[in-house]
Symmetry: C2
Subunit: 233 residues, 2 copies
């Protein structure tokens, strides 16, 4: 008796891709090689992902899924710290992940979910919306291992045609349902412009903010004679 035919699906494709990239490296991961791994002809994959870009997007989603949920009942610093370290662990399990993440500009729901949850950790900790905004920018580099313009919508706006106001409002409402924290921050940073969706951020300001946080921190450690030997500050 022939066993029942097992169909591929998007999830199996993505998981196989992640596993294969772990094994042979991201450069060697081709549609053809992945298809072979799945015992299928290359073009079969295109029934489950539109193209290789979308495959990579999906792989990122898998990695994000491996990041632990925030711990509860702890000071915000602890919550954030643990979360970042968990993200780091996930990225370390898949050495290729950082460089792939780097090249993704599409903000998939998984990414937005994560960002929203992350934003919430600061807001729940009592930080102001304003500070949270800049902090999110600054910590982006640590969270992922690199600097990404998290709230940067300039690329998206370039692609999208100007939107009629009612559509924009609808989008906002839907965004508010799914990503309330992001919305709160985005709204607040939109103060000085007419549009509701924000005007993008002042990258230079955000960069200097993060830089100065670090430099000031270094200076304090220097003044205190910090040493890694006995790293009790």
């Amino acid at each position: 008796m022939p066993e029942k035919r097992v169909y591929l699906n998007r999830d199996r494709v993505l998981r196989a891709a992640v596993a294969l990239a772990d094994e042979i490296g991201i450069d060697a991961l081709s549609m053809r090689r992945l298809a072979q791994e799945l015992g299928v002809v290359p073009m079969a994959l295109y029934k489950h992902v539109q193209n290789k870009e979308e495959l990579l997007d999906g792989m990122v989603e898998v990695i994000i899924g491996e990041i632990d949920a925030p711990v509860v009942d702890a000071e915000w610093k602890t919550v954030v710290r643990e979360r970042v370290l968990s993200a780091r662990r996930a990225l370390q399990r898949h050495p290729w992940a950082r460089s792939v993440l780097e090249t993704r500009t599409r903000q998939t729901p998984a990414v937005l979910d994560y960002m929203d949850s992350f934003t919430g950790m600061f807001l729940d900790g009592g930080l102001s919306v304003d500070l949270t905004h800049h902090v999110m920018h600054a910590i982006g580099g640590r969270m992922w291992g690199f600097t990404q313009e998290l709230f940067d919508d300039s690329a998206a706006r370039k692609a999208a045609p100007p939107m009629p106001p009612e559509a924009q409002a609808a989008m906002m409402r839907q965004m508010g349902d799914s990503y309330p924290n992001i919305l709160a921050v985005a709204m607040a940073s939109a103060h000085d412009e007419g549009t509701a969706v924000g005007h993008g951020c002042d990258d230079q300001f955000e960069f200097e903010f993060a830089l100065d946080v670090m430099l000031d921190g270094f200076e304090r450690l220097h003044e205190r004679g910090w040493s890694s030997r006995r790293a009790a500050v």
Copy 2:
């Protein structure tokens, strides 16, 4: 009269590659396209660079060459700040540069020169070798726009066969001539192992160091009621 034939050379190839990448994007930059731009057959390029990897390495060198020298006669924080901002400007002029830099693991002389000079800014500012070490790790992400394990030689050591002691000593001597600051830091961090060249770094420690500098900084700003409106701390 036919004008004198103009030969290609490595430098012209690299500059053309940078200009072309600026124009058409890094993804569209192929050996074939670059050759076409230079009015030459693709394989001609291989007389000047070994392969595409080396081309990319060379392009990075060009970008590094665009970073300003450190300002003189200023507090170390100012010196570092200006230098980082200059690096950022260079990377921004070539939007593809960050992702290329990200994928380079080879430490070319240009990269080492820059790192050495950078290390010197902290040491000259009076920071301890120990603190400088960790600070270099931490600021790596800001300097380039992403986190790179700057002093990480694990990849290099994996590739290189175990070296006879005298060769190692020779390398150290040569390194000391060219990169005295790097050497000082590397030596100091090698305390707890027999080898002279260091044992690589504790990535986890470095990561947490940088993370905690930022989190502590955020906390201070929060306590002080910092706001981006009037950003006088």
